[in-house]
């Protein structure tokens, strides 16, 4: 675990980082993100002591990094920058093996390791190892940069905006590969970017920074759903969540505390209740709020006897949803089954909400409305 304890950084009297504290967990891919000047790269470079701290302490596995030898510390970490930071005068092989060579590892071990790493990023060793970095495409260079960081089998890998100079398609596929790689090798990775899409795509946790402070340090889902403040919300983007619909849950849409009635309520009362609330569906529940059935408007109007009890005119519930179900699944169900109302019940079958066609439409349409206003502001 990498622990930041009230770490401060000053440059010529300017406070760049102001007493930040955080725990970066082992094996997780943590993304540091924020607008330029927020201190994210500074934070990263303090981990491998490319920059000294001005105050506070960074501790890795209970050892303060100040107590460790600089070079040894860095060799325990991989470091990847734009274009991988490859040395143009060395072949790909020399680039990958440089630290292992300096550590005097056995030759065969190094060679085998290099072959394994090349396989890991799907690059043909025979084709690439004897070539020079400028002969490779940006994406290929970046892959080499990543496996060079892995070569010495470090515990931690630091990545400083490694993909920012790549075209969008290459970037996207490298992001996928990185996630896969991370799952495979299980290293602690710390990744700096200014691209929120990238962060959400690859991160286990995201640390949002601004002006030397950490605003929020949480999972992507939590940040999308519950931004800590207005800045985070606007930085994440109000509608960012629409780009990741799997994060949108039924509870974000449902009408909370829907209008219900018990089984013994008369039909006339039901109609009054609907009219008062401008709704066309009533959920019938028992005394414990457990769902028993639904009364629709049509069924109610067909009833000749105004005193007939709800129990008699309700129909049983075939489709319902759980508050944490993904909205994508529910929409699929609505479309397939051609239903207009989906009650939402919790683990104890208690009614907690209701999805109706009209509230789905109005909620979904909001993203377009706000997008337009956002655009106007930009223009």
């Amino acid at each position: 675990m990498i622990k930041f304890q009230e770490v401060t950084k000053e440059f010529k009297g300017n406070v760049v980082l102001d007493k930040i504290s955080m725990d970066i967990r082992d094996g997780e891919l943590t993304v540091l993100i924020g607008p330029s000047g927020c201190g994210k790269t500074t934070t990263l470079k303090m981990i491998n002591r490319l920059l000294p701290t001005s105050g506070g302490e960074i501790v890795i596995d209970d050892e303060p990094i100040e107590s460790l030898d600089k070079v040894e510390l860095r060799r325990r970490m991989g470091y990847v920058i734009q274009q991988g930071g490859l040395f143009p005068h060395m072949t790909i092989r020399q680039n990958i093996e440089i630290i292992e060579e300096l550590e005097n590892k056995p030759k065969e071990e190094i060679m085998q390791n290099t072959l394994d790493l090349m396989k890991m990023v799907d690059m043909d060793p025979d084709e690439f190892l004897d070539r020079y970095p400028p002969e490779l495409s940006g994406g290929q260079q970046q892959r080499i940069g990543v496996i060079r960081a892995l070569a010495n089998d470090p515990e931690i890998i630091l990545l400083d905006e490694p993909f920012s100079a790549l075209d969008p398609i290459t970037r996207s596929s490298l992001q996928d590969e990185l996630v896969e790689l991370h799952a495979k090798v299980g290293k602690t990775m710390i990744f700096v970017t200014h691209d929120m899409d990238e962060a959400i795509k690859i991160a286990d946790r995201i640390c949002i920074m601004k002006d030397g402070h950490i605003l929020q340090f949480d999972t992507p889902e939590e940040i999308l759903r519950n931004p800590a403040d207005d800045f985070v919300a606007s930085f994440v983007g109000l509608n960012r969540i629409w780009d990741s619909p799997e994060f949108i849950k039924v509870e974000d849409f449902m009408i909370k505390n829907p209008v219900t009635c018990t089984v013994d309520v008369a039909a006339s009362k039901c109609i009054t209740r609907m009219r008062d609330h401008h709704i066309d569906t009533l959920l019938v529940v028992d005394d414990d709020d457990r769902l028993l059935g639904i009364i629709g408007r049509k069924a109610l109007f067909k009833t000749k006897n105004p005193l007939v009890q709800a129990e008699k005119i309700m129909y049983p519930v075939k489709f319902f949803a759980h508050p944490t179900d993904s909205i994508v699944d529910v929409l699929k169900m609505i479309e397939e089954e051609d239903i207009s109302n989906v009650p939402v019940i919790d683990d104890d079958d208690r009614v907690v909400g209701l999805l109706t066609n009209s509230n789905l439409v109005s909620t979904l349409s909001k993203q377009f409305l706000t997008d337009e206003t956002a655009d106007e502001e930009v223009n």
């Binding site: 860095r74 470091y79 920058i81 040395f87 300096l102 960081a149």
Partner: protein
């Protein structure tokens, strides 16, 4: 063209040995300036505060004329190979320091940070990243230095270090264009060759990835690299052998030798060879001949410092220039004063003076002498406003020459043109000047059939040639005195003028002229 070719063939062995000398000295000088310049460049790229002072100093040093640097260096370093190499090192430093500095500072800082970031130490970053990436630029600097050094090394002859400059200098003195070309052409070829070899090195140290050429595959590039490597290895081995044999050779020369120097005009070369031959014949002392040293100052300082053991100077020069007396015309007074003062002040012994007085004279063509009715120096006064004087720089500055002329006769020439060496006779012939200074024994007087104006007022002091030798050398090899004194009486005005003529006009080598004379007199 054919005569040039013949000359070069006839002197092939001399040209070759001078070329070898030239290569040795240049290689050593450039090698050392790399050893100094590259670390210095690295240093100032790390310690930024030093960059301006160091580069500034290198700039200033390079702005000093090379002749001046050599002259100033004599009291410190003496004459010969060492000061020549030091001078070339000083001039070679700037491009090497500058390019090393630029090369290293120009590396993308991100690249350097990446190198530190992945865990290289400071030394490893320098060795594995900074130096290899800066190497092409450093080599470009070395290339400039090396090519300049080849040219600059011709100046070495000025202080007796030999090299191809020797041919150029003596060629200029004796108006021997073939000799000049025999020195200049190999020097030029050498410079081009060095440039070519350096360009190969520059190419080889550039990472293959950074020198892609259109239409050439990587395989072809690798192949041509292999060929270039072979060429360089061969050249490297050759240069190393030259240097090693040179050093071994110079070590072998150590026993029982003395060095005789000479100034840079014909008579001095002949005198140097005459005395050297006599000494080598009559004693078992070997003589190293350092001919063509830059001038009185160079020889005198070298003698004081012990770089040479002996040279021949003239009494008037010793008396006025070196000892600072006012000129007088009493021959024996001059000799005796010089002898006692040099001995007591500098431990330099004057041996028996020669029988010729190579004093300054002013001379002119027969036609002009007739036109203006010139017989003695004083006659010049009547026409001084119409006449242009072509004279050596030394003549202009010596107290007993130009200033004395002004003092004694209030002489004001229409113009005074400073020309060194034989070209002033050419100027006289072309009527660009009408009067020149000349040495009384100059063979050119004979060649051009000139009129020597009589010094009726004894304006010029006596200039009898006299061997000056270090007392310590004389103590070590007392037999030298007898050998040297045996020769001096034979050298009269007439003899000297004839010997000079043979070299200057007939194009013989001073060495051969000396030998022939000694043999004809039965001295060897």
């Amino acid at each position: 063209m054919i005569t040039l070719f013949n000359y070069m063939v006839a002197h092939a062995s001399q040209i070759w040995s001078l070329t070898v000398e030239h290569i040795e000295m240049t290689a050593i000088a450039v090698g050392i300036s790399i050893l100094i310049g590259v670390p210095l460049g690295i240093l100032i790229s790390y310690v930024k505060k030093l960059d301006k002072p160091v580069i500034g100093a290198a700039n200033v040093v390079q702005a000093i004329p090379s002749m001046a640097l050599l002259g100033l260096g004599i009291p410190l370093l003496g004459i010969g190979v060492l000061p020549a190499i030091v001078m070339v090192i000083i001039y070679s430093l700037l491009p090497i320091i500058k390019n090393t500095y630029t090369g290293i500072s120009g590396i993308d800082p991100q690249m350097v940070e990446a190198a530190y970031g992945i865990g290289l130490t400071k030394g490893q970053v320098l060795k594995k990243v900074k130096l290899p990436m800066a190497l092409p630029i450093i080599m470009a600097g070395v290339r400039i230095s090396a090519v300049t050094a080849v040219g600059l090394m011709t100046m070495a002859a000025f202080i007796g270090a030999g090299g191809l400059g020797y041919l150029v200098f003596s060629g200029i003195r004796t108006v021997n264009n073939y000799q000049i070309l025999a020195g200049a052409i190999p020097a030029c070829i050498l410079a081009l060759l060095v440039d070519f070899l350096m360009s190969l090195i520059e190419k080889l140290v550039t990472p293959i990835s950074l020198q892609k050429q259109f239409g050439i595959s990587k395989q072809a590039l690798k192949k041509s690299r292999k060929r270039e490597k072979i060429v360089l290895i061969v050249a490297g081995v050759l240069i190393c052998t030259l240097i090693v044999t040179g050093i071994v050779g110079s070590i072998q020369k150590q026993q029982k030798t003395i060095t005789i120097g000479s100034k840079d005009f014909t008579e001095q070369l002949i005198l140097c060879n005459l005395y050297a031959d006599v000494i080598e014949d009559q004693t078992d002392v070997n003589v190293i001949r350092k001919e063509n040293l830059g001038g009185t100052q160079v020889c005198y300082e070298a003698l004081k410092k012990g770089d040479i053991d002996m040279y021949v100077d003239y009494t008037g020069t010793l008396y006025c220039d070196l000892l600072g007396h006012n000129s007088v015309s009493n021959m024996s007074k001059v000799y005796n004063t010089c002898k006692s003062e040099l001995s007591s002040k500098y431990n330099i012994a004057l041996l028996k003076q020669c029988n010729f007085n190579n004093t300054y004279t002013l001379s002119t063509t027969k036609a002009i002498a007739k036109k203006y009715n010139l017989k003695s120096i004083s006659d010049l006064k009547n026409y001084d406003s119409q006449l242009k004087l072509g004279c050596t720089l030394e003549f202009q500055n010596r107290g007993d020459c130009m200033p004395a002329l002004k003092k004694l006769y209030n002489m004001n020439f229409k113009k005074v043109v400073g020309i060194d060496g034989s070209p002033r006779y050419t100027a006289l012939k072309n009527n660009e000047v009408q009067v020149v200074d000349a040495f009384a024994t100059d063979g050119m007087l004979m060649k051009y059939n000139l009129v020597v104006l009589k010094d009726t007022d004894h304006m010029f002091p006596p200039y009898y040639a006299v061997p000056c030798i270090r007392q310590s050398t004389l103590n070590k090899y007392p037999e030298l005195q007898k050998a040297i004194n045996s020769l001096s009486p034979y050298l009269t005005d007439k003899v000297m003028m004839k010997l000079n003529y043979e070299v200057d006009e007939e194009g013989k080598e001073p060495k051969d002229v000396a030998k022939e004379f000694l043999q004809s007199k039965g001295l060897i």
